[in-house]
Amino acid sequence: MSTTGNARILDRGYRKFDGERLGVGSAIRSTAWHTTRSIFGLGRKARHKIFPMAILGITYLIVVIQLAIVFFFGSNDAGFLTEDSWAMVAPAIVMILFAALVAPDAIVRDQKDGMYSLYMSTPLTKPTYLAAKTLSVAGSILLITFGPALLYLLGKTIKGLGPDGIGAWFETFGRLLLACLLVSLFLCAFGLAFSCFTNRRAIASIVVLLAYVGTNIPSWILYEETNIGKNILLINPIETAYEFGARLCNAESIVNEYSAISTSMVTLGFFAWLIATCSIITFIYRNREAI
């Protein structure tokens, strides 16, 4: 601060911020990125990385091995690269495990460690906060839905086994992307809805898993032991979402029994579940105290 001819002492104290403040968009982006880092355990101890990274690794490994066999050993006829790309989306049990891991990490942690109150004291509001969390969770899930499927599609294309013509290719690609997006959003909503009741992460994970088990087992018992019929399978949300994705991609059903259900029923089931889970989230957060 004080200056003479050849000496000066500078004030290293507090600096005012004169630049322009960024808006809510930037706040959402920062929060989503921060949450995603936390989900994958980046910047945290190694043990937090194991589960998410393992699931991520396994889903990609399956596709990478198939592609490697085809490309390095040239075994086009070995039955590889003949499936629809949709089939490469990770199986339901893996997805639900991932959702049960990721969704509580994204929102329950904030309740427990006070971040939710702090976020509410920033330009974020409840809707923008949830938007940031959805961006992060659905985005993370998209990594293990769309990622492997896209790799597989590219592999097929390079080997000339993909859709014929640019138009058809882009249609396939577009359908795949849309299906993955919607299914990821669905899983995100499902995970968030069943983990927002509690502020204990372990409990939240369990509730998400139980919500899955509690719909999955009865749907199969009812389907197999009774004469109600195939539509009862739609009470299983995750398989319904997968079937909806398959219909969007014009792909084969991953679980055979679902193929007999009409597309309109599948669509109805999908959106009924989506709306129900979103309503739960809205209801819980509307009544949640910010401070």
């Binding site: 009741f197 994970s205 369990i206 139980l210 018992i221 009812l222 032991e225 009774t226 109600i228």
Partner: protein, 243 residues
Amino acid sequence: MSSIPALQAIKLTHNVLLKQLITKGRLIGIIIVGLLPILLGWVIGRQSDDPLEAGVGFVSYMGLSILVPIVALIFASASLGDTREDGTLVYLWLRPISRLSVSIGAWAASVTIALPLTVIPMTISAILLDAGNTVIVGTVLTSILAVLAYSSLFVLLGLIVKNPVLWGIAYIFIWEAIVASFAKPAAALAISGYSRAIITKRTNVDFDYLFDPSQGVSALMLIIITIAGIAFSSARLNRLEVP
């Protein structure tokens, strides 16, 4: 003002912990879960071709392997586990009452709440299965014994680990459900091994289990597990670092 009579101490502990255990959230959640077997029992009873076999399978898999242990876990692990976690244990611990009374009181509180929440839906479901009285009686009997044993085990679990619900769920789904179905020694160390044996023996439905104790041995084992669990809980209370 010396020591309090044991029965009085058990009653007091039971009353306090019972009040703490009954929360609106838990009750609603469990009742919803309890409606599920009722609904399923009804549907299976009306729609199944062989209600006896479907019914016994349903009671032993859905009821004895999932509903009973989970309900018992939620209440029993919280009974003393929560008090240790939040520090209210000191209000029972630093009193002139014996540790055994506290463990028995906690177990009794868990049973008081878990019993109706499991046995009632299971019984209704067994009635709706429409598969005869043996199934109903067998269901009631085994459910009660299983609730007693699981509650005792999970009271202890709540005093040992920090996240009892997580460990308990892992135990229920991995050990009781999967390992015990494949390995005979494991089944001999699982509550479901005995509880499932009682209902299948009573109804003469043969599921080809690896582990096949008689009804008497099974009932006795469940009671021994109950007593051992309480005894270990009280020993654990004695050595505990109370927050």
